[in-house]
């Protein structure tokens, strides 16, 4: 018996072959495509729908598509959506309940049959985001079944990053631009004088099986070297960084910092940052009843920590001020997430920076808090 192929090189036509191999396995293939002036995620009916030759220009509060001079399909940074849209949908029915004529209560768990997904074009940062949500939603003593049903067996095709955006900082968060496992297939895209091609590696048995069906040729050293170089170069071209300190300590020690007033004066508490963030997972519940009152449904929907209704008690809301709500979001993302789930809640994708209507930048805020804390320490040291 021969070893199954673990790595190979394929041309751009391999993408449609890949899509078809996944469809043959009963999967719904989702990937990036251009729609409404953005690169969004949608079910792909053909690999030609991938954003070949499209790039994006991003800055804080700004996102624009632009034409590239090459044919690259994955040379764009994160768009407004993330895979949580599929794995942790915005609204899920959790159970239905009926009261019988004799008053007995019957509660039926909602066991939906979501599609078997294949995600084509997952960025390494987003792969980490999926791992973060795994820890939150199915990594503890209780499992979120709706998530588990979608996540179990989802097939992940990761594409390494060779073109980081101006708002990217995956290097600071240790999540990219290279992939470090957790994928079924990993691709690295190269478009040079030798042609447009992908270096493909299998990261799982399922991946190797699919790879065996693709129109590939053996991996050649030049392609591998070019691919690796491109990823290395990407690592050196991050648009943003986080301060090189333990962010969890920084957040814990700056809860009363002046900087929060500054950012609170700008933040609109619109919650966009939570909607676009690939790891934000908070939810609330809705109980709806039909007209007879004998049938009820429990729905769970995304909630936003910027809403005043989030955490209301004692006749009011615990976090009344915008300051406390922005602080909750940031300190949770890069601070207390570690305490709660054993990792950072931020993967450095930059979405929250891009989609903030007033251009608030998570990295800038962290740097400012760090500067304030260091200033305070220096002052303290100077005074003593």
């Amino acid at each position: 018996m021969t070893e199954p192929t673990r790595q190979a090189v394929m041309g751009p036509d391999g993408l449609e072959a890949l899509r078809q191999a996944l469809v043959r396995r009963g999967r719904t293939v989702v990937g990036p495509t251009v729609r409404d002036d953005a690169i969004v995620l949608a079910e792909l009916t053909s690999a030609s729908e991938l954003p070949f030759g499209w790039g994006v220009e991003v800055e804080a509060g700004r996102y624009r598509l632009r034409r590239r001079s090459d044919r690259m399909a994955f040379a764009h940074s994160a768009g407004p959506q993330s895979w949580k849209k599929y794995l942790h949908p915005e609204r899920v029915r959790q159970w239905t309940a009926d009261r019988g004529p004799d008053g007995t209560l019957t509660v039926r768990e909602e066991v939906d049959r979501p599609p078997a997904y294949a995600f084509l074009g997952v960025r390494p940062c987003d792969l980490s985001a999926i791992a973060v949500q795994d820890r939150v939603l199915v990594g503890g003593p209780h499992r979120d079944e709706a998530y588990r049903r979608r996540r179990t067996g989802a097939f992940l095709v990761v594409v390494e990053c060779v073109e980081p955006g101006a708002t990217c900082f995956c290097v600071s968060m240790g999540t990219g631009p290279a992939v470090h496992g957790g994928h079924d297939l990993a691709l690295t895209e190269v478009d040079d004088e030798r042609g447009h091609r992908f270096w493909v590696r299998a990261g799982s048995e399922a991946g190797a099986e699919v790879l065996a069906e693709l129109p590939v040729r053996p991996a050649d050293p030049t392609t591998v070297a070019r691919a690796e170089e491109a990823v290395t170069r990407a690592a050196g071209r991050m648009g943003r960084t986080m301060p090189p300190v333990d962010l969890r300590d920084l957040m814990r020690d700056t809860l009363e910092a002046e900087r929060w007033n500054d950012v609170a004066a700008r933040c609109l508490t619109c919650g966009n940052c939570t909607m676009v963030c690939p790891t934000c997972y908070c939810t609330t519940t809705e109980d709806v009843t039909d007209l007879t009152g004998e049938h009820a449904e429990r729905w769970r929907r995304w909630d936003v920590c910027y809403d005043l209704d989030f955490t209301h008690m004692h006749g009011g809301t615990v976090r009344r001020s915008g300051l406390s709500r922005y602080r909750q979001w940031l300190t949770h993302k890069i601070g207390t997430w570690h305490d709660q789930f054993g990792s950072s809640g931020c993967v450095g994708c930059g979405r929250c920076i891009v989609w903030c209507p007033v251009a608030i930048d998570i990295t800038e805020e962290a740097h400012a808090l760090h500067a304030e804390a260091s200033g305070r320490d220096a002052e303290g040291a100077g005074a003593s």
Binding site: Q94, L105, V107, T284, H314, V318, R320, G335
Partner: protein, 269 residues
């Protein structure tokens, strides 16, 4: 299984004008055993679910009691239930009172208002196992004499352990104490250094009590508080019950003061 299990109301006792105690027995299989301090998500069909602490168990061993104060739609619906009615229950969730911490020493239970409910099963367990510790004392504060929970039982408990009760506002005929609960901390016996304290009530009351106890010499790591935040799921997934690094449905509701003090000191955390 993460959907509510049907339970039947088999008993309903009115405690005060707005508070009732419900006794529930499972219709089918019972949920795993609840420990004092833990809570259930109780579903009032069709209105919704709320977290309620265990306020007692039943002789059958499978039943649960919850003492519920009607403050809003769901709690009012629950308070209006009658024997025979069904509710849904999920649980047990959260951290229990750490009774082992008190082994060999004194137990001091301090309750404010409905906060006596989650302490009752702890008190009963401690009274049932007198050899595990030196002594048990209970201090209770309420708004008015009419707001005191479990009044008859308090009298019974008082025959087995020191019980001190105080009210904010006396009514004619009240011959007991008047004043805040902290004024009673000197009126019951305990050796602060060997004491484990269990506090449940409004957060302001717990903070004041915890500070007073630590001042008297009770170790901060042995002062336990039952904290409260909004909870939608009970399973650590909704994100609503965060108190800084803690998810109160998982790392709480029972939290030691050495952990809670700094967190409760930050406004709007």
């Amino acid at each position: 299984m993460n959907v509510p299990q049907p339970y039947q109301v088999v008993g309903r006792d009115r405690e005060t004008a707005d508070t009732v105690t419900l006794t529930l027995e499972p219709v089918g299989d019972p949920l795993p055993a609840f420990r004092p301090g833990q809570f259930a998500m109780v579903y009032a069909f069709p209105r919704g679910e709320v977290p309620l602490s265990l306020s007692g168990t039943t002789p059958s061993g499978t039943g649960l009691t919850h003492t519920v104060r009607a403050v809003g739609p769901v709690t009012s619906a629950l308070a209006g239930l009658r024997p025979g009615h069904h509710v849904g229950v999920r649980g047990p969730f959260g951290t229990p009172w750490d009774l082992a911490a008190a082994r060999g020493g004194d137990l001091l239970l301090v309750a404010g208002g409905v906060g006596l409910a989650p302490l009752r099963p702890l008190l009963l367990r401690a009274l049932d196992e007198p050899r595990d510790h030196r002594g048990v004392a209970l201090v209770v504060g309420a708004r008015t004499p009419a707001d005191l929970l479990y009044r008859d039982q308090c009298d019974t408990w008082a025959q087995r352990a020191p019980v001190a009760v105080t009210v904010d506002r006396p009514e004619p005929g009240w011959t007991g104490n008047v004043g805040v609960v902290t004024t009673l901390l000197d009126r019951v016996p305990y050796q602060p250094r060997n004491t484990t304290a269990y506090l449940c009530g409004p957060e302001v009351m717990m903070r004041a009590t915890a500070r007073d106890l630590v001042h008297r010499g009770v170790p901060a790591s042995r002062v336990f508080l039952s904290l409260e935040r909004t909870m939608r799921c009970g399973t650590g997934h909704c994100g609503q019950c965060q108190l800084g690094p803690l998810l109160l449905c998982r790392d709480g509701p029972v939290v030691a003061w050495d952990r809670a003090e700094a967190l409760l000191a930050v406004r709007e955390l």
